[in-house]
Structure formats: structure tokens, C-alpha cells
Amino acid sequence: MQDRSAPISTGAANLLFAAPAMLLFATFVLLPLGASVYYAFTFWDGFSAPRWAGLANFIRALTDTTFLMSFVHVVLYIAATLVFEVTFGLVMAVLLNSDRRGFSLMRGMFFAPVVLSMSAAGVLWKFVLDYRTGLLNSTLRSVGLGDWAQPWLAQPETALLFICIVSGWKYAGFYMVIFFAALRRIPRNLYEAARLDGANGVQQFTAITLPMLKQNVIVCILLAVTGGFAGFDLFFTMTNGQPFGATEVPATWIIKQAFDQNQIGYGVALTVVLTLVVSLISIGYLKISERGNVTRY
């Protein structure tokens, strides 16, 4: 019988087997990463040769109010996604967790927006929210509420809110499916026992469903947070950071700096900052969530 406590051999032959994977990793991950870090320390317009900039790009990033505010916007967006996507997805999963006729169709309909590309969804909703000819304002005007018609995506106070709503419409179904699959794994007898003990629906949800879904909730929150920081396509297609940076998120601002304004060195520096922020948040969140999972005896 094999001794499981024996250390795994690390001889040269084993390294040879790992070499192709390591080579690919170095070529497609480490090398671009290293190059990116280098370009972050340069003034580079993408056309001419890069010039060494030292820390100038990073110092500029710390005084770039639009970039700093983009983190505020993304945090607000993430907070909204936790409500509109994760929470709403959970509620829908619980409400639609039934084998009764029509429920699978409703789950399918609720999930349908997930299969649309984010860019297509953004363009679609931009038409719906158009000030002059959009469905929303046309409806308001047709029912005599023309004064309520607003340029929803051109006002700082409503633009971000509508992006969050559209994001919720798009992704709540995704989280619903995750929660729905987990709900199906919860033994029915737990609910039967709770009902015998006199627990109502809300009590069953808080005492059984939520604790049993804890791991899924943690994963969904992590997905929402990291996905939020990487958010680009919906912001780009719906508002492109407008009006006046009110919906600017790090990714849209980075694209503008790097490509619209030909400041690739600065854009890469902003990307490095964003990567550090997201990495720190992810590591911190995973540490906290792992600590919560330790079973103490």
C-alpha cells in the first residue's frame, strides 16, 4: 500500500512534465503582467517609444478625481447588485422553488436575459430609456404623464440607478439558478420537522434555507464584488461614463485614458492600481469567509 505521508517527488523528470504548462503560464500570464507593470512606469502614447516616468503615473492617479470617484461609483454599483441581483435572485429562487405547473417556464423566462450579451442588453435598454423616442418615456407621455418623462441616462441622479436596474434585470436570473440548484439539495425532512415544530415560512427561511445556502451566498457575493469591479460593457454601451463622470467606473475611465486619449502608460498604471485593489478585496473577503467556515470542536 502506498505511504500517503511520503512527500511528493520533485525530481527533474517531474519538472519536465510540468514544463509545458509552466511555459504557457509564463508566456500568456507572467510575461504580459510583467510588461504591464513596466509600461505603468512610462509615458507612452502607443505610437512612439515609451519614456521612463518613474512614479509620475501613480502620483497622478492619486490626484485624478474622476478615477477616485469611479471607485465610489463601482462600490455603489456593487451594493446595488447585491440587492438587485443576489438578493432578488435568492428571493426568486425561493419563490419559484416548486414543481407545480408553469414554474419551470417562469424560471426559464426569468433566466432568459442571462443568455443575452451584456453589450446587446445595454444597447437594448438604451433604446428603452431614450429621452425622445424610448419606450419608457413614450409610455409616460401616452398616459398623460409627459412631465414625468426624463432624460434618464443624461441626469447624474438617475443614470447610475438605471444601470444598476438593468444589471439586476440581466443577472438576477443567474444567481437564481445558483440558489435554485442549492435549494434542491436541502433535505425536505428538515422543512417537515420545522413545520411540525410550528415554524412559519419566514422562520423556515431564516432557520433552514439561509444557513444551508451560506456557502452559495458567499460565492455569489464574491462573484458580484469582483464582477462589479470588472464591470465595463453595460457602462460603456449605456452611458460611456456620462453624464460628467457620474457613471464612470474604473474600466471605462482606463479605456478612455489609454485609447481615447492615447495615454497608454497612464492607463496601464490605473489598471495596476485597480488590480491591486480588487486582489486585496478578494483576498480579504476570502480570508474572512474562510474563517467563518472553520468548525470548532
Binding site: F47, S48, R60, N240, F244, D260, N262
Partner: protein, 435 residues
């Protein structure tokens, strides 16, 4: 698979076998011809409208006259082209032989980076250079660097003029204004009548920004204007404040569409053609989109930004630039590329180009082409102008121009007053550092 093919061949009737042989020979000949062709890669951003149709027709003529050369067009949407499309191609291993470019700063940048081919020798041959209007080879035209030509001029672009709906003007007994005060009064009349006086698609800042650049050039002393854009002086001056206050005045009379900052440039143009607004400040390229976007019988005209300060040296200027084509310094087929460009800028080709709504830089073409009424009016406007002001993003570093454009948008939308917008602009440029 091979065995099945053999069996099937054996069963073919003699006539069918003859046809198959003929087809195979034809394919072989075509393949051989294709292999002998030189492919000239030509990248640009002319995606549609009558100008694209004219360009395709000229290319077809060229290929018919030169069967050994094939022009391969690589086309991007305008914004995509200037943001990522061109740079990606210039950096690639397979560079385009010819690329579209704007005169001025972009050409200087291309030359400095080693992407542009010195056309001095080619231009000197066959009187090519002399076939163009002398104005395109002046220092300020931006087609040359250190006295050497790098850009083959293709169009004279009026970067901004104010297009208006003739029918709605007539309904309100309005005529194109001569002065800025008349313009504001006219705008107020339209707004009070429930019209949207001006539609602007400023989602990307440059449409209003270009216009604001012209307004500022007509108000601010020229030295002060240049120094500010070169980051040698501040923008927060009484003259720039006066310029932005003109936009504030327009905002205050309800001139602009409410969704200005959410609307793109193309949807704004469509709104104008759909009679959703009375006026639309944008460039000469609107003309080539008329066929696609306007209904039959849509009547429109244009007027230049009205005089603001008659004593200003640029009071009667227009804002415009030259667009054209650059041969890549490392073009695999530079000789063929130049041959094509000579064909493209020859008089017969340019007549077609001009008739598609473009203002040709080639001498004599305007007289020979059957020009659209709008193109003729724009040519008249350009020829009567005292000076041509280049748009800031073609003359100065793009980040500086973009920051100015945003400050202008702040003022035009009422988001900030003129003074605060300029303070914001100077602070933004200070944080940005010298570009």
C-alpha cells in the same frame, strides 16, 4: 473519403466530366491570377453613406485598370478607428500600406513614431503635388512635417457648421443669424415655441467641443488661445470665461436637447433629420449621410457660427481640417499604394468623390463636378472665410483638447458656471502634467 470520390468520378457522364474539367481549369486560372495580384491593404473609417459608395466605385475602376493590384479595405467605425483600430494595425506585424489620417498633430505624431512615408519624391513626379490646391501645402495645413509631404489630401472638412431645418425656420419666420445676439434671440424664439432648437450628441464630448473650440478661437486673443492649449498659460482668463459664457447663455434660453450628454453623435444627426430638432452643429460629413437618414424632400441649409466680436482677427473664420491618406513607412507595397493614391486623387476620381458630398482638395474639381447644393455652399463658406481654425484635438495634445471639451460641456449643460468650469479645467491639466 478519397475512395468515394474516385468512385463518383468514374460514374460521371462524359458531358459532366467535360464541365468538371472546364470548371477545374477556370478555378486554376483564377487562383493563378489571384496569386499574381499584389494586395494593397487600405485602412480607413469611411463606413457608409454616399462617400463610401463613391470610394468603392473608384477602387473598382482602379482594379479594372490595374488587374495585377487588389485593394483590400479594412474599415472601422470612426471612433473605433481613431481609438484602437489604427494603433493596433500600425503596431501589428502586417501593417497597412495606406491609412486614413487627420492633418496636423496626428500626422506629426505618425512621422515622429516612424509610421509615415516621405512622399517628397512621389509628389514631385508627374506634377502630382501641383494638382492639389496650394492651400493644402501651407505650414498650417498640417499635411507636411519639416517641409516634407506625408499626407495625401483627400477631403477638406468643415469641422463644424450649424445645419438648420429650412421648413421650421420658415414656420417661425426665421432667417440665418448674422451675429451671436441674433443667434441667441432666434434660439429663444424656437425654445419658447416648444421646439428643441439645437440637438447635440455630446456623449463623447468632441461634437460640442469642436464648436466650443471655434467659439473660443473667435473670442480669445489668438496668442492667449494657443498658449493655453499648449499648457503655457491658464485657461481661467476673462476671455475664455466670456467664450464659455456664450454657451451658458444658450443653455439659459433652453437651446440644447435635454439628453445632450447621453446622446451619441450619430443619433443626434438622425434626430435632426427626423425633425426632432431645428439645428444641429456638426461637420461637413453630414451631407454624405443625407441619403441614408433624411426623408425625401427634407430641406436644410447651414450657416457659420455667427460673428461674436467683429474686431477679433478670427471673427470671420471657419473651423476645419484636411483629412487624407498616409502611406506606411514600412508598406510592403509602397509603389502600388502610391499608384492607387494617384488614381484616387486624379481628376476623374475626384469628380466622383466630390459628387458624393465631399470637398475635394484637387484643383479644378469643384468646377467640373455636379456638386450638391450643400457642398457648394460649404465651399463658398470656406473660400470666403478669413482663416481656417483647426479643431483643438487635431492641433494640440488630445488629453488637453478633451479636457477643454469637457469644460465646455459643463458650461453648455449648466452643470458648472463658466468660471468654475475653467478652474476645473486648469486643475485637471495641472494634475495631468505637461503633455
Amino acid at each position: 473519403m478519397a475512395k468515394k470520390f474516385t468512385l463518383a468520378t468514374k460514374r460521371l457522364a462524359p458531358t459532366t466530366r467535360g464541365l468538371a474539367l472546364t470548371a477545374a481549369t477556370a478555378v486554376l486560372l483564377l487562383t493563378t491570377a489571384a496569386m499574381a495580384q499584389t494586395e494593397v491593404r487600405f485602412t480607413h473609417s469611411i463606413t457608409g453613406g454616399s462617400s463610401r459608395a463613391a470610394l468603392d466605385a473608384i477602387i473598382a475602376d482602379f482594379e479594372a485598370a490595374n488587374p495585377d493590384i487588389k485593394i483590400k479595405e479594412i474599415v472601422f467605425d470612426d471612433d473605433q478607428y481613431s481609438n484602437q483600430g489604427l494603433i493596433t494595425q500600425l503596431k501589428s506585424n502586417e501593417v497597412p500600406d495606406i491609412f486614413f489620417e487627420w492633418a496636423g498633430y496626428p500626422v506629426q505624431r505618425d512621422v515622429a513614431a516612424g509610421y509615415a512615408y516621405d512622399l517628397s519624391e512621389a509628389m514631385a513626379a508627374d506634377g502630382w503635388k501641383d494638382s492639389f490646391s496650394p492651400a493644402v501645402w501651407t505650414d498650417g495645413a498640417g499635411t507636411m512635417v519639416d517641409g516634407k509631404p506625408y499626407l495625401v489630401p483627400l477631403s477638406l472638412d468643415l469641422t463644424n457648421t450649424i445645419w438648420y431645418n429650412k421648413k421650421i425656420f420658415a414656420e417661425h419666420n426665421l432667417t440665418p443669424p448674422k451675429t451671436w445676439d441674433e443667434f441667441v434671440a432666434l434660439t429663444k424664439t424656437l425654445a419658447d415655441a416648444g421646439e428643441t432648437p439645437i440637438v447635440e450628441g455630446n456623449n463623447e464630448f468632441w461634437p460640442l467641443g469642436n464648436w466650443a473650440g471655434h467659439i473660443a478661437a473667435m473670442v480669445v486673443p489668438p496668442d492667449e488661445y494657443v498658449a493655453a492649449f499648449k499648457q503655457e498659460a491658464k485657461f481661467d482668463t476673462p476671455a475664455f470665461e466670456k467664450a464659455l459664457n456664450l454657451l451658458v447663455d444658450l443653455h439659459n434660453v433652453g437651446a440644447f436637447n435635454k439628453d445632450m450628454q447621453a446622446l451619441g453623435a450619430d443619433p443626434a444627426m438622425a434626430t435632426f433629420f427626423q425633425e426632432g430638432a431645428v439645428m444641429h452643429p456638426i461637420g461637413s460629413w453630414l451631407v454624405s449621410e443625407t441619403g441614408n437618414l433624411a426623408d425625401e424632400g427634407f430641406e436644410y441649409g447651414q450657416f457659420n457660427t455667427p460673428t461674436i466680436d467683429p474686431a477679433h482677427p478670427l471673427a470671420n473664420s471657419v473651423i476645419g481640417t484636411i483629412t487624407g491618406l498616409v502611406v506606411h513607412k514600412n508598406a510592403p507595397h509602397a509603389a502600388e499604394a502610391i499608384k492607387f493614391l494617384k488614381f484616387l486623387t486624379s481628376e476623374p476620381s475626384q469628380v466622383k468623390w466630390a459628387e458624393s458630398g465631399q470637398m475635394s482638395p484637387v484643383q479644378g474639381v469643384s468646377d467640373k463636378a455636379k456638386l450638391d447644393e450643400q457642398t457648394e455652399a460649404m465651399l463658398a463658406l470656406m473660400s470666403s472665410a478669413s482663416a481656417i481654425v483647426p479643431p483643438p484635438d487635431n492641433k494640440y495634445p488630445v488629453p488637453v483638447a478633451e479636457a477643454f471639451y469637457q469644460a465646455a460641456a459643463f458650461a453648455a449643460s449648466g452643470e458648472k458656471n463658466a468660471k468654475d468650469a475653467l478652474v476645473w479645467l486648469d486643475e485637471t491639466l495641472a494634475a495631468m502634467g505637461k503633455q
